[in-house]
Symmetry: C2
Amino acid sequence: MRIGQLADLAGVTPRTVRYYESLGLLGPSERQGSGFRYYTQVALTRLQKINDLKALGFSLEEIAHMLPLYFEELSNRCHLQALIEILQQRLQETDEKLVSLSHLREDLQASLDRLQRVLEESASESSFNMNEVNTQEISGLIVD
Amino acid sequence: MRIGQLADLAGVTPRTVRYYESLGLLGPSERQGSGFRYYTQVALTRLQKINDLKALGFSLEEIAHMLPLYFEELSNRCHLQALIEILQQRLQETDEKLVSLSHLREDLQASLDRLQRVLEESASESSFNMNEVNTQEISGLIVD
DNA sequence: TTCAACTCTAACGTTAACGTCAAGTAATTA
DNA sequence: TAATTACTTGACGTTAACGTTAGAGTTGAA
């Protein structure tokens, strides 16, 4: 397939594909004489993985370091050790991020509970309902 | 305290503090005649919370929506309901992010295990050690 | 009082991750 | 074959989150 179709399937624009290529994230595709880029399913898989990692908040530079772990061959031992170190670092950062996010989640839940109580209090205080407070909405807030 | 000290304590620059103020993240501080900004401990706490949220990958715009949950008073019921909705959304997004991050962590761990095995194989294959592979480093990689 | 250090506003510069436009070429459809 | 798409490179534009510089006023210690 060509760049337009690849971009559509991956939910990005051709511009983005070319940009990723310029950063070395997508390897220089085949140019069959015409100058057009032609791609296979592999490129799509790679693009989707890039999107996944981006959604997790990684920069393209970081992603460039992580992609070999998913796609590239493990050539020599030297390269392999470098990858292991990168991976070790990523794993640690991920664990830290998980901890922080868990804390944030607790904060959010606590704030939610607090607001809920405040809302209930204000509901019982005022004898007539000014703003049509729907308590059904509130009971659905707790996800856990 | 003035802007320089506040910035130092929070690990940012005065420029950043002014920028946050321009976005409404730090409220217009007191200007005692001279035109200088004077802050209290409250501003520092607020700045630190901003830093925490930034570390979690939230944009300043998102943070602007979250800060009231930590600091502002819950004035009227209308405002309160708006906050509850924002919080509900954040909580859901956080849960999704936690799931994705957990998956990433599994991927990283799996890749690490794989690399580890490859390294061991290459070590047992070659009778003489070309690159001084230190197997101690590898056993320390698994965090769990 | 004086002078270095701090602060003010205003404005231009920077990086990441693209968007958008231009001018030309290739492919496809009528 | 002619007209519409799709693709090419190149270059300038954009947003977020500040950095940096300039020119002028303020503080506080010696």
